[in-house]
Symmetry: C2
Subunit: 225 residues, 2 copies
Amino acid sequence: MAPQNMAPQNMAPQNMAESVATSPATLNRLSVYLRSLQTLLREGVKRISSQELADRFQLSPAQIRKDLARFGEFGVRGVGYDVADLAARLTALLGLDRRQRLLIVGVGNLGSALGRYLGFNDESFQVVAGVDSAPQLIGKRISGVPIEPYDDLQGVVERSGAEIAVLTVPAEAAQEAYGRLVDAGIRAILNFAPVSIVERPGVRLKNVDLRIHLEELTFFLAARG
Amino acid sequence: MAPQNMAPQNMAPQNMAESVATSPATLNRLSVYLRSLQTLLREGVKRISSQELADRFQLSPAQIRKDLARFGEFGVRGVGYDVADLAARLTALLGLDRRQRLLIVGVGNLGSALGRYLGFNDESFQVVAGVDSAPQLIGKRISGVPIEPYDDLQGVVERSGAEIAVLTVPAEAAQEAYGRLVDAGIRAILNFAPVSIVERPGVRLKNVDLRIHLEELTFFLAARG
């Protein structure tokens, strides 16, 4: 039984400003905690202490307590966390308690693969639309939805209800596509184009630059000699 | 003309330990500087100051000077950097002065798309092998090379001369694949499997967790309400 102070409304951040200011590193740890709790749930574990959770998944118990304390009261000293309850509350905090609608912008090799990878058999994400500027792609399908013309981006966003855009256009097209997505009402963009995008306020941009990640590895190999 | 103190050997880090200790954030900035210099080269720009470089690409001039100073003497006060020279030296520092040989481990949707994306028409990266445990994939091709059996990983690494592995196996298979790659002599691994891998010394592991990146965006959307 969850004690009174573990009521769901305690999960909400104090205010939106605090929540939006949460660092990516903290958020990424919340994602890891949730993933760990889901593993425990599948194994039938009902209750766990921060120390046990840390030991099992190579985490820091103090960091777990600090991160969770930021968002409310969880667990009971000496009793630990209710695994299902904490998982449910992290799920809600991360916005994963309903399916998020993805739009793939640029359906080349990477875009189509990411559409399949991110939206496949997933409770939290669903590809609802794809757009491309290449006429020969229009009408083909990605993750079960037809590819529509990039020129009709605004209409596609409105009809599909897309909330998150996955930006997989060439570098030289990324800034313009970013602007059009924001104009169309999109407020969250995962960008794979290898370019620094000039951002607009109120929009969350996450850059994933695969080339730069590879260059961390080549640097290491070169330094080894 | 490059002054004497800009000789290429100055580009080498003081020692391997320092080099390996360079933070990912610093390395990622070096990648961005190189990309910016390559843009300037294409435009025919021959010389640029740290201030001009910063203004043009939304960087910090002090950070540029500090990052570069870590690896040797560049540029001349009041004259700036020789764009071609600095680009060549960053290219060498990042190990991009020769083509790196990639092995794709797990040739599903994501693995095959990444192989095409990272190794396509690229001076610095080349997919030299792909392995998978699915019998129906063996003998098919990825980026022009035949897919070979995962069971023969050691032989594939030896014959292909692969140096960097792109790990795109399911989460539950990642730790075992990591161990087999290290045993086969691989020292640099780009992991896309959504799992925390227990690392071994002397091997550089870079994790790219697309799901966790998406969850940064869903958190933001949920917090906006």
